[in-house]
């Protein structure tokens, strides 16, 4: 699937979802828990308190990057299942917060 910045991807094995921040101009297969994630146009779900970490799962509000494929995601909903692209894992990006200016 060719990804674009701003696209939502949802896991089919858990409630996890991500938004694309950066994507290469070529087809990639992104999986959560070993199963391909699906593009979602309209986001509909119930609010529940999110776990802040569960093993290899996705953590709400964290950024995930895969440098060689120039992919970057933001987790918009936590859930179980490791994030991979073409079989390779992502790294959790360190936060470099700016001093609060607002």
């Amino acid at each position: 699937m060719q990804l674009r910045a701003g696209m939502h991807l949802v896991s089919v094995v858990s409630p996890a979802s991500v938004i694309v921040l950066r994507a290469p101009k070529k087809d990639v297969e992104v999986c959560c828990g070993g199963v391909a994630m699906a593009a979602a146009d309209n986001i509909a779900r119930d609010i529940e308190v999110q776990a802040t970490g569960n093993g290899n799962g996705l953590i709400l509000g964290k950024r995930y990057a895969h440098e060689s494929s120039e992919l970057e995601f933001l987790c918009t909903r936590a859930g179980a299942g490791e994030l991979t692209v073409d079989g390779e894992p992502f790294i959790l990006k360190d936060a470099k917060p700016l001093p609060p200016s607002d």
Binding site: I19, I47, L60, P99, P100, D102
Partner: protein, 493 residues
């Protein structure tokens, strides 16, 4: 990619945390998300194309920003301090615009526009709402329309899309990074870009927003103490008024960790006094434009301290800079001929990045073929990439072929003990092209001869930068967020 996503994430993080405290109502994250859902349904069911907001800061304002996002239509805050006829000319349109108006303005708006409801009614009909079932995810949808203040030219309407604002938020704030006890005092009005991004970044961080519906320095200090405010953002005139109010007494605000200021140039004397009166507070200077989704450069607390304590003149000068450009934004200084200029040379500031819109309603795009936005601000970088804003390029005075930034002369005028306010503009002149005219407001009880002020300036700057004329005034024209309206002064010459 939609602003509603930011609220949904923050609500998931801690639904029962306080989100907004205001004069109208206080809301938790879950309550605000529910109201945003109800508001979005209301707007969508009635096919509105835009929702305008005419009123001061309030929880209703915060709800409306997200409700508009959920409905996929632009949120358009109007300056409620404008005269009725100016407001009416803005909303006199055939489009399906819903105007949410403060009680005092409802009748006036209804005289020319059918779709108006009061902010109180809006709060009633969104109360107890359920979170949105869905929202449009197209990142290109327009999120916010903002009228510029038009200090040098005719006001324009800036278009900010969801991708611009979300990029800014994700690039500058760590999700959920606020402590549950954190609170930010917001006194910039809702029709200012800082009022919009303030809401978004603080919600994303999980910080409670304390809205002040009108700014008064005494009330601001009292609110900071009573609400144990940890963060605050003010425009420079507000900072100057707070410093005046304190009158040399330390502020006594132990909870306040960060005070950020920005929106226009600040007199160095104001910052020095403020740093002294708020000894336990970190200061942040933010520079940006409406067209760039606000902040593109930051002078950090560390930069303030280095500048304050350095023996090096160049480092001390950075207290008057806009700091360094934030990650995700690229900056260039270009000459009038489009040449890239090195550090130390002044020219026009051009910007590029995901948060940079540069788009206006009904106006051709000013972006160049590579996506660079001309800010019309004259600026230079120093050798350590600190950005110095010299003022609007349109304000530059060309006297006898020499480019002169009014700000440089204004800074010197303000060093004169009798001068409280100063504005320098160019006047048309047959011999020189332009001559330099300074308008000054003397400090209360001060007395000074204009010739004496001229020679004071001549002692610090070259003769060619000394005002040819100095005119005394009782006051100068400013916008209500403290920007000098130079075109009013220029028109008089």
């Amino acid at each position: 990619m939609n602003l509603m996503m930011l609220l949904e994430m923050a609500t998931s993080h801690d639904p029962d945390r306080a989100a907004v405290s205001a004069h109208d109502v206080a809301l938790t994250y879950l309550e605000m998300y529910g109201r945003a859902g109800a508001g979005a349904s209301y707007l969508r069911e009635r096919d509105y194309q835009t929702v305008a907001y005419l009123g001061p800061n309030s929880a209703a304002f915060a709800v409306t920003v997200f409700a508009a996002a959920g409905a996929g239509i632009p949120f358009w805050p109007l300056n409620y301090r404008l005269a009725d006829d100016q407001i009416l000319s803005l909303v006199d349109t055939d489009e399906r615009v819903l105007v949410l108006a403060h009680q005092d303005s409802v009748a006036a708006v209804r005289a020319c526009h059918h779709d108006v409801i009061s902010v109180d009614q809006w709060l009633e009909l969104t109360a107890g709402g359920t979170p949105p079932a869905e929202w449009p995810s197209d990142p290109d949808l327009v999120a916010v329309l903002l009228n510029t203040s038009g200090t040098t030219s005719k006001p324009k309407t800036v278009v900010l899309r969801h991708r611009h604002l979300v990029s800014y938020v994700l690039g500058s704030v760590e999700f959920g990074s606020a402590d549950p006890a954190d609170a930010v005092a917001v006194s910039v009005p809702p029709y200012h870009v800082a009022g919009i991004v303030n809401l978004l970044t603080n919600i994303f961080a999980g910080r409670r927003i304390v809205y002040l519906d009108a700014f008064a320095p005494g009330a601001w200090l009292e609110t900071v103490r009573r609400e144990r405010v940890t963060h605050a953002m003010v425009v420079p005139t507000m900072l100057a008024r707070i410093v005046d109010e304190l009158d040399g007494t330390p502020a006594n605000v132990p909870s306040l960790r960060t005070l950020s200021y920005g929106g226009s140039r600040v007199a160095a004397a104001t910052i020095l006094q403020a740093l002294r009166l708020f000894p336990g507070t970190d200061f942040v200077n933010a520079y940006g434009l409406t067209e760039t989704s606000s902040t593109i450069a930051i002078l950090s607390p560390e930069d303030h301290r280095s500048a304050l304590h350095s023996d090096d003149e160049a480092v001390r000068a950075r207290l008057a800079s806009a700091g360094r450009v934030i990650p995700g934004v690229e900056a260039q200084i270009r000459s009038a001929d489009g040449l890239l200029l090195p550090a130390g040379e002044a020219g026009e500031l051009w910007l590029r990045g995901d948060q940079v819109s540069g788009e206006y309603l009904a106006t051709e795009s000013p972006l160049d073929e590579n996506g660079w936005f001309p800010t019309r601000d004259r600026a230079h970088f120093d050798s350590a990439q600190f950005l110095f804003i010299e003022g609007r390029a349109d304000d530059t005075i060309i006297r006898g072929g020499e480019n002169i930034a009014p700000a440089e002369i204004e800074d010197v005028l303000l060093q004169h003990p009798a001068v409280g306010e100063a504005a320098v503009v160019g006047a048309p002149d047959e011999e020189w092209g332009q001559t330099i005219v300074a308008f000054v407001v003397l400090r209360e009880g001060a007395d000074a001869d204009t010739e004496e002020i001229r020679s004071f300036v001549r002692g610090k700057l070259r003769t060619s930068k000394t005002p040819d004329r100095i005119i005394e005034r009782d006051h100068l024209p400013y916008t209500d967020t403290g920007k000098l309206i130079r075109r009013v002064l220029t028109a008089e010459l």
